[in-house]
């Protein structure tokens, strides 16, 4: 079983301490939650795990892979995939094209063959499109394959983004506020998909504001406030922790 391990991770932005001494674990096959008020440092933490941001101190490991000083594109190569807080699709490309982008690491035809349009490139294109169609089927989105991604509804765009992340064949999937702006029915469907992915053995790190969604879904929750972890435990433990209630839940324990 693969596990993502953060040990004493910190991030300084010119003296501003955005993340301080965070240690956490995201095991494969489980849904781990990361919650906290706005500005707590959640997205900074995700950007550090995906190697987009450099780390000021501490270490990040995915099993034996040391990701502490990895380059921005190396995270995906070790098996880390993510979605973005503000959905980031290629809006002018079709849904199918957006998902095929995710298969970048599966592309093995040579550059010469891509330049000369040789058979191996043609075969690869067909093969990746077929794989993308399988993903679309799984998410019940085959009819949308040929549409422009930018024109889809919010919920559908989220699903396309998740499919693109899954195309990289990740061991760990980080979802940055996946249900923001979704209605209950859409959120519920997404919850079902997330559970399914976890049961297939993908480790899920869920960064979310929607408390009900987090409490229903997560096996284990970390609470971040002003850059530091203030609590961790099962959803029940966390929702009863007085410090969490004071910092975040504001008296409501729904």
């Amino acid at each position: 079983m693969s596990t993502l391990r953060l040990q004493g991770v910190g991030k300084n932005f010119d003296g501003l301490r955005a993340v301080d001494q965070v240690s956490l674990e995201v095991p494969q096959g489980k849904i781990t939650g990361l919650i906290g008020p706005n500005g707590a440092g959640k997205t900074t933490l995700v950007n550090m795990i995906t190697c987009l941001l450099s780390i000021s101190e501490g270490t990040i490991f995915l099993d034996d892979h040391n990701l502490t000083d990895a380059l921005p594109y190396e995270g995906a190569r070790c098996g880390i995939a993510r979605t973005f807080q503000n959905i980031r699709l290629l809006p002018e490309a079709t849904v199918l094209e957006n998902i095929v982008c995710g298969f970048h690491l599966k592309e093995h035809s040579s550059l010469w063959s891509a330049l000369l349009g040789l058979g191996s490139s043609r075969a690869e294109k067909r093969e990746l499109e077929a794989l993308a169609m399988r993903l679309l089927d799984r998410f019940d989105m085959r009819p949308f394959a040929g549409l422009e991604a930018g024109g889809l509804s919010y919920g559908h765009q989220r699903k396309v983004e998740i499919m693109r992340a899954l195309a990289t064949d990740p061991k760990l999937l980080m979802l940055d506020e996946p249900v923001a702006g979704m209605n209950d029915a859409e959120a519920e469907e997404l919850g079902r998909i997330i559970r399914e992915l976890a049961s297939e053995g993908i480790g899920i790190l869920l960064i979310e504001h929607n408390m009900r969604f987090v409490m229903q879904l997560c096996d284990f929750i970390y609470v971040l406030n002003s850059g530091s972890l203030i609590a961790q435990g099962t959803p029940e433990d966390v929702s009863q922790n007085p410090e969490v209630v004071a910092a975040y839940l504001g008296g409501s324990t729904c």
Binding site: T50, L52, L71, P72, L90, E97, E107, G117, E124
Partner: protein
């Protein structure tokens, strides 16, 4: 018919050579690099092809190929600093490179023959060869666009953070774009040298650079037909408007502005995305 062809052959040749430079510019823009280095790389290709033949005694078509290789090598060398810059900084840094090449053409008199330029280059490049090369180039660019390179370039161009999150190394693919663009610019620089008897040190200057950029912006930055249409329009238009004399440049500028305001994606790309939207809409209605 023959008479017509002979009258316009110089225009056709000029258009075919321009198409090469347009594609050299297109391929780097395609990968999200705002570089105008093509002009400098074309100068390197042109000068080395001409001088290696005249002073080095190598056969012409060998030197044209060497010019292309040098263009590619300089392209890769440029990618090292340029792929680490973004947007307008890339444009300024690549412009500086073009300036360096131009001043070497002018001041390194011992090698480049200075302000007088290079004379006495044999004319070996004729229309059929240019037509053949253009067809080949269009095919190659079509492949670039259709298979993995185009897909990756598009991702890098539209959103670098997404590209990184999918395991794409931006620097790697922008370097590839620089290499392809450099080889094309170097090759067509050499072809220009062996087409027009003479190389002028200012030939690959600011005007050249703006022309290459306009071909792509006017025609379209994503599709392969974009540069073809842009080049055709901007090469044919001045011919058609010959009788307007000094107002020609004015008309040229006005047309460029109108197209950019009303079709910001360029003529071909605007048309393609419009026809695609229409097709999708009719499909949805059918469902």
């Amino acid at each position: 018919m023959m008479q017509f062809f002979l009258t316009y052959q110089p225009v056709l040749d000029h258009g075919l050579l321009s198409l090469g430079f347009a594609f050299s510019q297109w391929v780097v823009l395609r990968a999200g690099v705002f570089s105008v280095a093509s002009a400098g790389l074309a100068a390197i290709g042109g000068y080395s092809a001409a001088l290696l033949h005249l002073d080095g005694g190598l056969p012409p078509f060998v030197t044209i190929l060497l010019g292309a290789v040098l263009g590619g090598l300089f392209g890769v060398a440029l990618a090292w600093p340029l792929a680490r810059l973004r947007g307008v900084y890339q444009a300024i840094a690549s412009l500086a490179f073009v300036q360096i090449v131009l001043s070497l053409n002018l001041y390194a008199e011992g090698i480049t023959r200075g302000a007088l330029g290079v004379d006495g280059i044999p004319k070996l490049v004729e229309t059929p060869l240019l037509l053949l090369l253009s067809a080949g180039l269009i095919y190659l660019m079509h492949s670039v666009n259709t298979y993995r390179l185009g897909r990756t370039f598009e991702t890098v161009r539209q959103d670098e953070a997404v590209a990184n999150s999918l395991g794409i190394s931006t620097i790697h693919f922008q370097t590839i774009a620089f290499a392809i663009g450099g080889v094309i610019a170097g090759l067509y620089g050499g072809l220009t040298a062996f087409h027009s008897y003479h190389l002028d040190p200012a030939q690959f200057g600011f005007e050249f650079l703006v022309a290459a950029l306009s071909f792509v912006i006017l025609g379209g930055r994503r599709s392969v037909v974009g540069p073809v249409i842009g080049t055709a329009v901007l090469v044919i238009l001045p011919e058609l408007s010959r009788e307007f004399g000094e107002f020609r440049q004015l008309g040229y500028g006005v047309i460029l502005m109108i197209v950019i305001v009303f079709m910001p994606q360029g003529i071909a790309d605007t048309y393609l995305s419009w026809s695609r939207k229409k097709r999708l809409a009719s499909q949805q209605e059918a469902q």
